[in-house]
Subunit: 368 residues, 2 copies
């Protein structure tokens, strides 16, 4: 294991100290552990996310103007604890409530629910919205449902912009739910990764093998198969996304009026010709930027063939799995409101959107 | 070799097609090969760079508002040809001349000089400024001098902002020369990388070995040694930078008045207590964002011990060596003018700086 680290047990805290040193506009608490903005305006809905570490820049790298108000990092690939979310929520609440954006993993879901209960007892209004966009996991009783992957980045950007623009807690939650219903992702791993405290690779791949449909922790994918050209790999990913049938999940949400938990049935309909998208081509941590543009080339070509329009794109390492080589593709069927919020200004360590007011052509506004 | 590519000989063109598809605000020419802005205002000095490919986002990813007007990518780790720079310069010249920012490699230097001659014959005013910041190369007659590495990114940002702000060609050249005189870099490789057309690693490292003082192509470093903790590796890099003595190079520059080549002697004085810096902690392509913040933590601590002040920082993958694991540290002794230009708005695929006018605390403005 060759990594730029000291003692494996100190990795998360040391990297957070580096983030805070580089970005003094952020507040870092180490016990309990969370990162938040220092300059949250009164009356603004606070947007908070969190999850296991090792996915940088997600989540702590997205704390800042126009995205997250707080993020709670667990140990590597391990859920944060309820006290982290609870203390973070108390710290960032400005009287308008807190939206938790939760990736669908058993530990994350349970712990965010527990912290929502704690917040409720303190009189802080909270809503939890799930992200479960990974089409590699087919529906069925044997899993806890689809994993939350790349769509989380898009949700944090768009919902963060909505909160910054003054949306209410209910409106932010509705928007986030709509994003989840309209998003799908698929990934491929060319290599595994090494959790520092484990010291060895999470899974083994031969020199000519890849894992298709990987999650962000090296969970089992759809298929282990031979390495192939980028064109073939992108075709496989895109086929999985477009052939994904109607997907129905039951999300447990806290009713904002009654404060009681209720099961909400949410349906995702398949993508089809004529629709418009915001897309993310994401690197898994060990893949260099150039290769991701190679992926984008084929992906954009396939979208064109399928008659769908890419309104906005993001290409880079935005939700990683330590040093894993590989990539994922996320597609969000986007309405005008989402595109408008996508274009809004954001200033965070991991993602920066200039508003386009005074620039003729703007790198983040790439089609219309 | 597992990479997200098709035929190795198509890698550069296919990745550029992806970049252009994702960023329609850029113009891509494939024969001869260059990328440039579509919206360069009349009367603005054009800033152009280029070099071998495989260092993304450098250089093509820095074409856009407030940075480069054009970039000329060669094959992987191979200099572009004079016709590329010449055609690019003709395309981006708006009557105020063209500044070539040239990393100090024999091929790049020769080819940029040849293209400057071609431009001169066409009546286009050109200046070439060299970047040679790699302290791993000690002075001496047996080399062509120091390599241009991480400082190139800072030069492209700052000089790009100056050109955008209306600086003359001479003023842009003076500023770029001053940046080069005040910048130093040092890198470390944890792994080698594979040039697609070669199909095997450029050099071999054992499981417990690293190469200290590496360039961006896997050139020989200062020392091959045992892997160590990030703290020790950062200490070694910082020691090399701070103990670097006065460095004198002779740069060949085209005199802007006479159009004749002349040798200009440039001196870099060592860094010392009380000085202020813009710094870059850079990933080599295969190192995930989290580890770079681990590097920054120790680096900031050492700067504090040495009594120097970090005015601005940039942490991420900005000048890479394909999928190499490792990092580099660049320090630029920065005056107020450089810091002001650093903070200016930039909108490129690889680097985005919002101006800070309407944000209370801004992620890119991190100390004062």
């Amino acid at each position: 294991m060759k990594k730029l680290i000291n003692n494996p047990s100190d990795v998360v805290n040391e990297q957070l100290l580096g983030l805070a040193a580089a970005h003094p506009e952020l507040h870092l608490s180490l016990a309990p552990r969370y990162v938040c903005r220092k300059d949250i305006p009164q009356g603004k809905v606070a947007v908070v996310s969190g999850g296991g570490s090792g996915h940088d820049p997600l989540h702590c790298g997205y704390v800042g103007f126009g995205m997250l108000d707080g993020a709670c990092p667990g140990e590597i690939f391990t859920s944060p604890t309820p006290d982290q979310m609870y203390e973070c929520a108390k710290h960032v609440d400005r009287g308008a409530g807190v939206l938790f954006i939760v990736k669908n993993y058993t530990g994350d879901v349970l712990n965010f629910e527990t912290s929502a209960e704690l917040c409720k007892m303190d009189g802080i209004q909270v809503q939890c919205i799930l992200i479960d966009d990974d089409v590699a996991v087919k529906g069925g009783g044997h899993t806890s449902g689809r994993r939350g992957v790349g769509l989380t980045v898009l949700a944090e950007k768009i919902v963060g912009a909505a909160a910054q623009a003054g949306y209410s807690l209910g409106a932010c939650a509705d928007l986030c739910r709509r994003i989840n219903q309209n998003g799908r992702s698929m990934g491929v791993a060319l290599s595994s990764c090494i959790i520092p405290e484990a010291g060895e690779t999470t899974f083994l791949l031969d020199n000519d093998e890849i894992e298709l449909g990987i999650g962000i922790h090296g969970e089992q994918g759809v298929e282990r198969r031979c390495m192939a050209s980028v064109d073939i790999l992108v075709e496989l990913m895109v086929e999985h996304i477009f052939s994904d049938p109607e997907y129905v999940r039951v999300a447990r949400e806290m009713n904002s009026a009654s404060g009681e938990w209720e099961d909400v049935q949410l349906v995702s309909t398949p993508f089809s010709r004529g629709e418009s998208f915001i897309v993310l081509v994401n690197g898994m941590g060990g893949t260099p930027p150039g290769e991701l543009y190679g992926v984008y080339r084929k992906f954009a070509e396939l979208c064109d063939e399928k008659g769908v329009s890419i309104k906005r794109n993001l290409v880079g390492t935005y939700i990683s799995s330590l040093e894993m080589q590989g990539c994922s593709i996320t597609m969000l069927r986007a309405d005008d409101e989402m595109v408008r919020l996508w274009d809004a200004r954001a200033v965070t360590p991991g993602l920066c959107f200039p508003s386009c007011d005074d620039v003729t052509s703007c790198g983040t506004s790439n089609a219309d």
